[in-house]
Amino acid sequence: MKKKLFSLLLTATMAVGALAGCGQATSGGKSTSSSSSSSSSASSSASKGGSGKSVTIGFSQVGAESDWRTASTKSMKGTLSSKNGYTMIFDDAQQKQENQIKALRNFIQQDVDYIALDPVTESGWDTVLKEAKDAGIPVIIVDRMVKVSDDSLYTAWVGSDFKAEGNKACEWLKQYADKKGIKQSDINIVDIQGTIGASAQIGRTEGLNDAVKANGWNLVAQQTGEFTQAKGQEVMESILKSGKKINVVYCENDNEAFGAIDALEAAGKKVGSDIKNGEIMVMSFDSTNAGLTDVKNGKIALDTECNPLYGPRVDEMIKKLEAGQKVPHLQYIDEAMFAKDNTIPTVTAKNAKGEDTKYDVTVVTDDVIKGRSY
């Protein structure tokens, strides 16, 4: 009997403890949330008055799987901050679509002014986006695209033009070869692809395939490195073992490029842009801090940027929407190109809409690398 009483007492204290734990977590949030929400409610009453209001935005992010993603989150949080008149409700979906659907439903109930969504998956958004539309909340899709039956379910999309990334990188290579007096038919290129099916992989591979056809390059091998360093290295090793002649490696992201460079150097090859004298050129995408460092060291000849800094773009869009202006349904984010020197200062290539666009090539300096947080 005594024992039973004791155990009951123990559970009771534990229950209290656990509840206190929860209480702490939520009450800790309370102080910040109540202050922010009071400011938002105050501002929403002021909002009818016109300018100078605080806009509540719910942002559902994919996760925090890479430096690139973290930079994207930071940019959104930094720009859409209370300093700039926003109240942001942030949710990390931990790579799960069902979490994002839940978060979106939560945002709708919180009556946010805008929803920003970087979707984990392309499909499966019809139902919840319809709920948002019914509630009259504009949805801005960033980075990855959504496939829905009705495009009016989201207000706008802003993201990378992967096809243009591939096009301009290839155009750079073509011009570079011309300038250095290398015959286009002497270019033996290896494509280490990204994860098959990812939109970045599709766009960048398409860009290369088009250029191979147009310029008469030899596509020696085309294999997936799954956007990882380990796989990039493995693929490069196996291609080197096959003994085929190569002089350009086209890696579809920086991590693959790091792996490929390791493999090339381990095999005793020289990595650089002097193709004529037997060096092997590595091209890459993303332009992370480490990637740009390799550009400066001459290991990566050209790094085409994939810009994660969506914050300013979304900010601009919301300001337009707030002012009652229309925004384009699909928008591409500006993306630079980085090289060691200005052999080729600008290239003209087609963007996803098929329009010829001029792109500048930026020379990597220490300042450029320092300014890159991811």
Partner: protein, 348 residues
Amino acid sequence: MKKAKLSKTGFLLLITIVMFAVMYIAGMIIFQDKGFAKPQMFLNLFISNAGLIVIACGLTIVMITGGIDISVGSVTALVCMSAADVMENKGMSAVFALFLALIIGLAFGVVQGYLVTYLKIQPFIITLAGMFFGRGLTAVISTKMISIKNKMFLAWANEKMYLPFGYTNRHGVLVHAYIYPTVVIALVVVVLIQIMLKFSKFGRALFAIGGNEQSAVLMGLNVKSTKMKAYVLDGFLAGLGGFLFCLNSCAGFVEQAKGLEMDAISAAVIGGTLLSGGVGTVVGTLFGVLITGTIQSLITTQGTLSSWWVRIVLSIMLCFFIVLQAIIGGAGLKKKDKGKEKTAKATT
């Protein structure tokens, strides 16, 4: 003995419900201005978790027999993928997809149940194999994501059922609260299974087996067929739950529902189901799912906390309930021993 067990179940259930109520009411007070007090916020718990509720109910049944099934997440992915594939690539109807989903679930249930029951293999290992198999098969069907555009399916998925209450928004318009048909199905499943567990012969046999398999045999129960039925029912519910999950996500892809089995197990445990078997209710499991959903909802609403806190709070909850169960289970065991002693004395 029977009375003690009942109170044990009742006590665990009570704690779960009280915990849920406390958490939710606290949320309503703290986040009142952030929409937490809206009826729709509460209904969203059901809307977003309808599939999980049904799957966790199935899992509760096998856990009551002392078994486990960790294949349910993969079954869900397989169901979503096959449903998406037959509708989008093979031109089949949504009704066919639903039948296919149920058949997949049943097939898993029958095979796993047979191996566990008649070949006496550990359920953990069998369902682990089932988990790999399901995920693998999903990838074989397609590694690409398939989004479902079938008209009938989307009509099912988007059919809002408005309720006669709601909240008044800032423009002064009454917005009716709504649910989807998936919620109705999930709740019907909970009620039916609860009635079955409580009042049917099969239901009582499940508890008897989970409490002590040997005694169940001695009592003349057909242990094998009961266990088999439990796994088949669990498989069926995994298929149905998977389809409800699919109605929520409208897509099929390999990574879907990863870790769902663990969500279902933790919901059952929080709901008062003993891992060792013999104790559990699906009503408790329902509240277990709701508690998980509430934690997630609270943290999303708060807006600045990392969403990984969901896992941390959930782990604390799990520990709490497991310790609670151990204490209660331990108390029960002591009593049993004493009872044995008494009978031993009486016979001598």
